[in-house]
């Protein structure tokens, strides 16, 4: 025992434990990712971002000069507003198993692993960007998030955004608009920058440029046979959490060029005849690559997903009519509420439509419905989606799991059998 290590506090010791175990997991997953073979060269840009998790998140987020970091906890936080103040949104939704145990000191057993993992990273100095946030923004989207704010306020200032649950009503729309306006005031105070019409217009356009590449990327994903694996696609989208939108857009644009080239050259990433799978349900965040890895290792190919961390992320554009300040703020509020397919809303019509659309667009043969233990909104919706898939004639496999690696082999058997069944149906 050296004198130097003896001086570590319990908190530092726990942080070291989480850090080294996280590094080991990330290294293992990066190895699996690289084992895929035939990866697009331009994935290296995105790999670098996730490799930083091996070293305490140093360089995961690279703030530009003077840029303040605002931590966000949901897709519902309007990033256009944050960029308009010259600050940088960083989405803190977390997929790491290693910090779950720490979060369990703050939350009940039944809480979903994502919130546990997030609190773990706020409580301990493991990933540096969790501790560089000027403010955390927490939409009251699910029940866990409602209480998260109170717990997280121990570590950083938190701004709650209240959410309507019956989104199609005019009163909900008005309510949410007020929440967005309240957020603007808080942002202006925290950053010391007033959101002007010009600044807001620029940031809306900046994100729209990202959305253009996003849609191009998803059009490319429709290619048969696919030119990019589902895991790489998830990685590209997940990188948006940490990257500056402009840098991300440039990187995806290069990747898209390469992928279009691949389509022309008929480059393949999956075996011919691999089962075409769509994943949906509770969000998946790196390094929780458990299910997609099994799917693609067991002769499936993840052709589409419907996750708030991926395909839903940049799907809906801000529709500005006149470009006045009031018009833009209205348009931003609407973008985040009206088209949302999040199951926290009472009505699941939009979500059902979207899933059916994705099945057709991506020629999906089977749907894997992923529920994180304790994620009530997606769990509640299972039966509805099951029925929907039955009607559509698309088999669905429901998987309930968490971040622990313990059930990998059981999941492997189930997923493998499911994918074999899909292939058997082809006749």
């Amino acid at each position: 025992m050296t004198e130097q290590t003896k001086k570590l506090t319990k908190r530092e010791r726990l942080a070291n434990k989480v850090k080294v175990n996280l590094a080991m997991s990330v290294r293992e997953i990066m190895d699996q990712i690289n084992d895929q073979g035939n990866r697009p060269e331009n994935m290296a840009y995105f790999d670098r971002i996730f490799e930083t998790f091996e070293h305490g998140g140093e360089g995961t987020v690279q703030p530009r000069k003077g840029e303040k970091i605002i931590g966000t906890y949901c897709l519902f936080v309007p990033e256009e507003l944050i960029y308009a103040t010259g600050a940088r949104p960083v989405r803190l939704c977390s997929g790491a198993y290693e910090s779950v145990e720490i979060g369990e000191d703050y939350l009940p057993e039944g809480a979903c692993p994502m919130v546990k993992s997030e609190i773990g990273f706020s409580a301990l100095p493991v990933l540096s960007f969790f501790h560089q946030c000027e403010m955390l923004v927490m939409p009251a989207s699910c029940d866990w998030k409602v209480k998260m704010a109170e717990i997280l306020s121990e570590f950083a200032p938190v701004h709650m955004m209240d959410m309507p649950r019956v989104k199609e009503e005019e009163s909900s729309r008005a309510f949410w608009l007020e929440e967005v306006k309240r957020f603007i005031k808080r942002l202006e105070k925290v950053t010391g920058v007033r959101i002007t019409r010009r600044r807001l217009k620029q940031s809306i356009q900046m994100i729209q440029r990202a959305q253009v590449e996003f849609h191009r990327f998803h059009r490319i994903r429709k290619a048969t046979p696919p030119v990019i694996t589902g895991r790489d696609a998830l990685e590209v989208m997940n990188a948006y959490f940490y990257d500056h939108v402009e840098d991300w857009t440039a990187a995806v644009s290069k990747l898209n060029d390469e992928l279009e080239e691949r389509i022309r050259n008929q480059v393949q990433v999956a075996r011919v005849g691999a089962a075409r799978i769509m994943l949906t349900g509770s969000p998946m965040v790196f390094p929780n690559w458990k299910v997609p890895t099994i799917i693609e290792e067991m002769d499936g190919v993840l052709v589409a997903d419907e996750f708030c961390t991926s395909n839903r992320y940049l799907n809906d554009m801000v529709a500005v009519d006149e470009g006045t300040m009031s018009d833009m703020v209205h348009a931003i509020a609407d973008r985040y509420l009206l088209p949302s397919t999040c199951p926290i809303f009472s009505n699941s019509v939009d979500r059902k439509d979207r899933l059916l659309q994705l099945i057709d667009d991506y020629q999906v043969e089977g749907v894997i419905y992923h529920i994180l233990k304790g994620c009530h909104p997606y769990d509640v919706e299972t039966k509805i989606i099951e029925k929907l898939m039955e009607g559509k004639g698309v088999p669905m496999l429901k998987i309930e799991t968490d971040y622990s690696p313990q059930d990998v082999e059981q999941l492997r058997t189930r997923i493998e059998a499911f994918q074999e069944t899909l292939k058997g149906r082809r006749g």
Binding site: R13, L14, V26
Partner: protein, 267 residues
């Protein structure tokens, strides 16, 4: 002055220690070999010679370890749990550390012992027949990587990120490590990964027993700095290793027990 001897016959090495009424005079570690009684006697003779003592000077001998019943010249024998506790508490006292948890890693077994604040054994856990995650596993790994087992610690500390090793089984680990070597993984990262997997296994065992500071870590593998670091990370606490010879704690404990018993009978 009176002299007492403790003999600890482990699966890999045999340890002998000599104490007098006040302190430890010396100890010796030798490979156990096939004839463990002879090995113990030879080691003892060498040690006594070095200390200018004769076997006739010895008041009492206590043997411990898995070969304890094979030492016919011992006056008594005792389980390695009790001997380990006795020795660890003695080392603790010498350095002002109140030992409450002992983690011992031997050639083929591992144990965790909980001690209450009065120095009494409260609870313990041991591996069963399986030698997973013990010194044997480290030896296997060293052999595959073609290095000396004493080099493991230093090399592992050079690792950037330890590689996850799933099996600490002395048999299965072989194929896993060979496949990592074949994939051109760095030795340092393989070894560090193995250390973390041992540490994880031990800390699970320790959690069952209950970890209370200070934690004392002994046995041959406690000579390995890389393993100590992994233990401190996994247990998330400081780990105290007795200076220079963590293998002999149990032999010293046995010698101290020989002394206590002798003094009790002759007072």
């Amino acid at each position: 002055m009176s002299y007492y001897i403790g003999i600890d016959i482990g699966s890999a090495t045999t340890k002998v220690a000599v104490v007098d009424d006040e302190t430890i005079l010396g100890h010796k570690v030798v490979p156990t070999g096939v004839h463990c009684e002879e090995t113990a006697r030879d080691a003892l003779d060498l040690l006594l010679h070095k200390l200018s003592l004769r076997f006739e000077d010895i008041k009492s001998v206590t043997s411990t370890g898995y070969g304890r019943r094979l030492v016919k010249f011992a006056n008594s024998n005792i389980s390695e749990i009790s001997a380990n506790v006795k020795g660890a508490l003695w080392y603790g006292e010498q350095t002002g550390i109140q030992v409450r948890t002992i983690i011992n890693l031997g050639g083929q077994d591992s144990k965790v012992i909980a001690i209450d604040d009065q120095g009494v054994t409260k609870n313990f856990a041991m591996n069963d027949k399986c030698a997973a995650g013990t010194g044997r596993f480290l030896e296997t790994m060293a052999r595959i990587l073609e290095i000396n087992v004493t080099e493991l610690g230093e090399i592992s500390l050079e690792a950037d990120v330890p590689i996850r090793i799933n099996s600490t089984c002395a048999v299965f680990a072989e194929s896993e490590i060979i496949s990592l070597v074949a994939r051109k993984k760095l030795k340092s990262e393989i070894i560090a990964g193995a250390h973390y997997s041992i540490a994880k296994r031990l800390s699970r065992m320790a959690k069952r027993v209950g970890i209370v500071d200070q934690v004392f870590f002994d046995g041959g593998p406690a000579l390995n700095d890389g393993l100590i670091k992994a233990m401190e990370d996994e247990l998330a606490t400081d780990v105290y290793v007795p200076p220079s010879v963590p293998q002999v704690t149990t032999a010293v404990g046995a010698a101290l027990i020989a002394r206590d018993e002798y003094q009790k009978e002759n007072s």
